[in-house]
């Protein structure tokens, strides 16, 4: 359940920019298995790497996924989405839940209690289906950038394989949302 979005014209963009910067910073400090990340559940490999870097990157990834889950939830609850679009949004949200649960599982296996979602997300104005689609599209675009950037830090192959699959999901989502919004995919 997400609180009703507040009107905020500049907040979300700035927030996203800051988050990306933070993400990139974390990605830059991530160690090899940092990224065992998204889940292989292979804690031996995780522990073999810098735990601090791993935790940073995992937490950042978790934040991103939780935010995406909340964004789709806000969209679904707005009742602004036509049935066909809602179906797609629910499917995409399910993908993000899958990513979120995977990351949470790795954190737990490291003895770290995963942080829950924020109590409230400020997604700005959501007055139309386009507002929601743009919000989702921006989140997906940020995710593509984040996961794509992570590849440069991946040393653990199992993690890389998982991360690559997550990236495939994010690109697929962005492509569909672009298409619905009339943003060229070519």
């Amino acid at each position: 359940m997400v609180d009703k979005p507040e009107v905020n014209l500049v907040g979300p963009a700035l927030e996203e920019k800051n988050f990306r910067r933070e993400w990139l910073r974390l990605a830059g400090t991530a160690s090899a298995g940092a990224i065992l990340f998204l889940l292989t559940g292979d804690t031996n490999q995780l522990y073999a790497q810098s735990k601090e870097g791993d935790l940073g990157i995992l937490s950042a990834a978790l934040y991103l996924e939780q935010e995406a889950v909340a964004a789709y939830q806000a969209g679904a609850e707005s009742k602004l989405l036509p049935e066909g679009v809602l179906k797609v949004a629910v499917a995409f949200q399910s993908d993000h839940k899958y990513h979120r649960d995977g990351i949470s599982g790795v954190l737990k296996s490291l003895g770290v209690e995963p942080r829950g979602p924020e109590k409230k997300y400020d997604f700005g104005r959501l007055h139309s289906d386009k507002d929601i689609l743009r919000l989702a599209r921006d989140r997906e675009s940020g995710a593509v950038l984040a996961y794509g950037t992570l590849a440069s830090n991946l040393l653990t192959k199992a993690v890389l394989n998982f991360g690559a699959n997550v990236l495939v999901d994010e690109v697929r989502h962005r492509t569909i949302l672009n298409s619905v919004l009339g943003i060229p995919n070519y």
């Binding site: 794509g148 991946l154 690559a164 070519y186």
Partner: protein
């Protein structure tokens, strides 16, 4: 070859040495100062790159076949040309890497058999099938790449293949909400 290639004939000042060390650290060039024979060829990576290059050649030829068929409408042709350009960019990047690591880039085949093409839908199906194959190939091999630089170059290529595949799946009315099994 001069023997001076393996020994530096000139004395190196402390400042020069520090500058070189700084540059090396900054660029992450671990192999600085090693003889040329120590260049790593990344045989496994080269094999993967050449398989990928073969797929890029095939995709370029398929888009050529599609464009030359005159079966595509203006919008479809625009997509095909754009995607073919992506594949040409991939091809050139792959060739560059293969040469840099002292491999021999595989050449395109003299001809490709794309089956019977009698409609725009045939072309879109062909393209979707090739893009899907390419996506899965990059996905399956990403974790096998040893060289980080090559991996970094492969990531945006994978992103392109997913985008292409998704666009065609949409055009064909295929399910775009299905997540791959992983």
């Amino acid at each position: 070859m001069s023997k001076n290639n393996t020994t530096n004939p000139r004395p190196v000042s402390r400042r020069q040495a520090l500058q070189a060390a700084g540059l090396s650290a900054a660029l992450g060039v671990a192999a600085l100062g090693k003889p040329a024979a120590a260049v790593v060829r990344y045989e496994g990576d080269l094999a993967i790159l050449n398989v990928a290059l073969g797929l890029e050649h095939q995709a370029i030829a398929a888009y050529d076949a599609g464009a030359n068929s005159k079966l595509l409408n203006a919008d479809q042709l625009k997509i095909a040309v754009s995607f073919q350009n992506d594949h040409k960019r991939h091809r050139d990047a792959l060739i560059q890497f293969i040469k840099r690591f002292h491999g021999t880039p595989v050449a395109p085949k003299a001809s490709y058999d794309f089956g019977t093409i009698t409609s725009a839908a045939d072309i879109v199906k062909l393209a979707q099938s090739l893009e899907d194959g390419a996506m899965n190939a990059y996905l399956a091999n990403a974790g096998k790449l040893e060289n980080r630089e090559i991996l970094n170059a492969a990531v945006p290529i994978l992103e392109d293949e997913v985008r292409h595949n998704t666009v065609f799946k949409q055009l064909l009315g295929m399910d775009v909400t299905e997540r791959l099994k992983y």
